[in-house]
């Protein structure tokens, strides 16, 4: 083996500790739950040790569980749509800001709330949306409502909470794609007679389509996989997959079924991630 090749392999060996960690403590566990998802629960022995698709069938045919899947999909879809609509103007603004300092500040501003963590953010929304929260206080004081409105513990509240998590991702994804669209294209559109708003729809939106698809995929995944937001803000009446997985595995100890739900979440996430990455690479620039 030549010296160059030996050197490359020796250097490559530096990856091994990290790789080992990922394989042993992420990939192997995932393979494990895939195995469990095909098993059947037994209250006595925990698992029977068989191979059966029963859990998957149950997840999609049992009315309650199917309902949870559909509710999750619905809430995730609505949250994604809201994020795209709200995120697009902000992303465009950041992308077209000429001052480097302002751009940097806006990006930090966008990302900062994200890094606080879901626990803190959910706590914050509870304070804002609760029956004694900020919104209700405002409504009562201004006379817009006679008594506290139920905002917390509704699907709408969950959407609001999720949007506040997802929006930064949407903004950053969209903004980075918009950065690659030269402003001269917008100027060309305007010189040809398109008003600034029409230019946006005729030029920027089509060219940012890969970014829109990627942002949608990311937002949907994050919403679908959420835990703290549905639990704390949704309360007992809103059922989503994340809390259900926790309940099945940690509380009910129905590991096979919990694993099935986890695998479904994993699969959808995987597919959407592949879709979004492929689209992000198929840009015009």
């Amino acid at each position: 083996m030549s010296g160059e090749k030996a050197r490359r392999l020796k250097g490559g060996a530096l990856v091994i500790p990290a790789l080992l960690l990922v394989i042993l403590f992420l990939l192997a566990p995932i393979a494990l739950i895939f195995r469990f998802s095909l098993d059947i629960y037994d209250p006595g022995k925990l698992m029977l040790g068989v191979f059966s698709p029963d859990n998957y069938v149950k997840a999609f045919s049992d009315p309650f569980y199917r309902g949870v899947l559909l509710d999750t999909a619905r809430i995730a879809a609505v949250s994604t749509a809201v994020c795209l609509v709200l995120g697009y103007p902000v992303a465009y603004f950041i992308s077209r800001t000429r001052s480097e300092r302002l751009r940097g500040t806006l990006i930090v501003f966008t990302v900062l709330p994200l890094l606080m963590g879901n626990a803190v953010r959910s706590a914050a929304w509870m304070v804002v949306m609760g029956s004694k929260g900020l919104i209700n206080a405002f409504l009562l004081v201004t006379g817009l409502a006679a008594e506290p409105v139920k905002i917390l513990y509704t699907p709408t509240a969950v959407v609001v909470g999720l949007v506040s998590v997802l929006l930064p991702f949407a903004i950053i994804t969209l903004q980075s794609v918009m950065d690659s669209i030269p402003q001269s294209l917008e100027e060309a559109g305007r010189s040809l007679g398109y008003s600034p708003l029409r230019t946006l729809f005729a030029v920027v939106v089509p060219l940012s389509a890969p970014g829109i698809i990627a942002a949608a995929a990311i937002c949907f995944c994050l919403a679908m996989n959420a835990y703290a937001t549905p639990v704390l803000i949704g309360g007992p009446s809103v059922h989503m997959m994340g809390p259900l997985v926790y309940q099945q595995i940690a509380k009910v100890t129905n590991w096979p079924f919990g694993s099935t739900l986890a695998c479904v979440m994993m699969l959808v996430t995987l597919v959407l991630t592949i879709v979004s990455t492929t689209y992000l690479h198929r840009r015009y620039f």
Partner: protein
Amino acid sequence: MSGVTLKRLNKTFGELPAVDGVSIDIREGELIALLGPSGCGKTTTLRMVAGFVEPSSGSVHFGERDVTRVPVHHRNVGMVFQGYALFPHLSVAKNIEFGLKVRRWDRTRVQKRVDEMLEWVQLGRFSERRPRDLSGGQQQRVAVARAMAIHPDVLLLDEPFSALDAKLRLQMRSEIRELQREAGITSVFVTHDQEEAMAIADRIGVMNHGKLEQLGSAQDLYLRPASRFVAGFIGKCNVLEGRIAGTRQFETKSGQQLQYSNEHAAGSGALCFRPEHGELVRAARADANNISVTLKAVTYLGADTEYELVADNGERLLVMAASSSVAGAAFKAGERLVLSWRSQDSFVVD
């Protein structure tokens, strides 16, 4: 179609005046070049004509119409951008028809116009191609076709040839000039390449530090430059410092008395003449300006021969002569000679 008038255009960004009191009267069908080094304000001026930049003061008129406060998309300008700005997600034909769709032309009329434009720039075969499949020259033609399809009042070009290689540049230069003449459309283009400006523009506006130093034909600029900057920017120039010493009399720093031909107010200035107007001789000529020089170097450039000279007071001078006419002269470096030139060929600038 109409002429374009710029009246005392000013644009200040923060503290700095990017464009300072520019006034130009462009005749209908004329092709004007805005020429100058980077940062001189030529692009900002063009963008004010287009409507992308609002002037701090002054006005822009298309014929009788004051368009100063009119937004870009209502101005009816045809603009060719540096880098062409073709829409990558649209075919050539769709790029060209882009401006027509928003004018709500019916389908047949649009199709007819697009075909006309494709024919005009000779890209009929490429109508369904995407911009990335075209060469630089072809992309530029699409950009021109797209801009012209909308029947604009004025055609604006921002450094249109800078993205092309040297050979293509020459070719596209004359092609665009032809297209512009054929259409008879008033046009303004921005460039930092003086050769380009002189080759195709009817008139050239030389700009420096935001100000319009001089507006005139290539000849005007070359033979009668209005300022030291213009004299030095267009072609090469010999400069002798000194002051006015009487009517058409100039006294150099070293006391030599010279004659010049243009009008100039009293005071200090520089006497200039072009290298090809100077002649190297062994004895001073009557009825001409003469100064003693030492020959530093001779460079044979093929068609021309260049002589580098130093005057007695240290000023460096240049004489350019057709090689065929100096074949027998055989001047050698170090020789003391006389540089002679006519007063008609000298002019004084600030």
